[in-house]
Assembly symmetry: C2
Homo-oligomer: 295 residues x 2
Amino acid sequence: MPNDSAHGIAYLGPQGTFSQLAAIRFFSVEDEASSMQACSSIEEVFQRVQDGEVEFGVVPVENSTEGAVNNTQDCLLSTPLHIVGETVLPIQHNLLCAPNAGPDQLHTVASHKQSLAQCRDWLEAHFPQLTRRECASNAQAAEAARDEQGVAAIAGEFAAGIYGLQILAASIQDHSHNSTRFLILHRQPDAQERRDASVPSDLPRKTSLLVATQNKPGALYALLGPFDHLQLDLAKIEARPSKKRAWEYVFFIDFLSLDSEQSKVDELLRALRPLTTSLRVLGSYSAAQNVSAND
Amino acid sequence: MPNDSAHGIAYLGPQGTFSQLAAIRFFSVEDEASSMQACSSIEEVFQRVQDGEVEFGVVPVENSTEGAVNNTQDCLLSTPLHIVGETVLPIQHNLLCAPNAGPDQLHTVASHKQSLAQCRDWLEAHFPQLTRRECASNAQAAEAARDEQGVAAIAGEFAAGIYGLQILAASIQDHSHNSTRFLILHRQPDAQERRDASVPSDLPRKTSLLVATQNKPGALYALLGPFDHLQLDLAKIEARPSKKRAWEYVFFIDFLSLDSEQSKVDELLRALRPLTTSLRVLGSYSAAQNVSAND
């Protein structure tokens, strides 16, 4: 038992979410109720990890169709937690309803706002008459489909199993390449490294930075210079409000490198310091291998 | 009457939203029911302008605390409409309830998700026990506060007036610099120019671009080069999923120029073409004058 005695995994719940599935896949665990804790919000996942109630947190950070999950980015900005891993799940949405119900009895379709958005065209074509109801999660929608007559849910197969629902229509998302990327969080930056020791070193690593620059012309261009000069591949750049002053931004930047390029990464960070007003390394971890354009 | 016979203004409704207030301020109109049309979604505002049911549309595009409004960006991506103006409103949130109610009788606080987020700390400090209810808009929340016992709403003073509510607590947003930027949409790129002819030419113009690049290392850095070389000030850059392939992005770029710099702008666009796989000028319009860090 290490000094840091926290164990267990907090995920964005309730039971049956893609976050839970991501946690199960990433850690190759069975669903053990004792070690997996469902949280009611992204903020709560961060809080439980920070308070040492659990060792790891699992939250969605980006969907390939709908974009960044702002709450997660804002929590990365406001807490000292580290990113120690990532995993990507292909998101297959299904229209689910109670086993004894039929499509003609439906009056409402419930799901998370992002999932309703991801199936917007399909719903318009097949069930334009159903009232859309936004829920806090797909799993909560699945619960409603189980408990309320006439309510269908959009959720994954995993949730269908947990809530005992039938699949009325499978794979109804508008974009077949729909995937979500999840982050693994920890209080220590190298927590996952100890477990990852067996990973071959020719796989790319991803490093996540949180950067603020002076609000002056050319600042962003100057900031990207060192990435270009060192030929380090920018995987992602995302602007978010700094929350300190109106219309000032911070940048979330992910870049890729090989283990053999560690000296380049060190050089990059040295080159970035004078170009930024603040620079935080959020984490450096094995890049998910299934982030390809065809997922 | 011009050839294009559409008239009127569609805004993100219902009555009493900040979008309606933005429309009233931008066009310096009184609230004329005949010319102002409340829409139930951002998509509907775009649709009505596109279909020629109204001449102008008014939608929120960015909040200084919570960031971009994704629906608006996605509609800019998927429709051919032009941005012909922008306006910024300082957002003062208030806790509102029915005139005959008191704080002790409240069990729920309703508002749009972004507004609940913008008042998160204040609510935790003063009303931790209230159930949070997410509504499609602040105005819908105000309506609920009028009609349902024990429900308070977070909304602006404008909504308080329209729904006949009392202000239990004023200016409860966590960040005093909280502002929202709204876009004015039209089918023709120069619609507002005809009205703007009296605007002095030494005020900055904002130009909005929608850009896609090849997904290869250094592409974004190369793209920003011409802005730097021509010393055109980047006001904003925002990445959004391309929706064509997973993990490919398009960029929304706003930059500022003076009327006297039009030749620079032309040169910029010429320089950008070979660096992009697609480049659309979404609009060029008078920059809102109240976008300062102290708003």
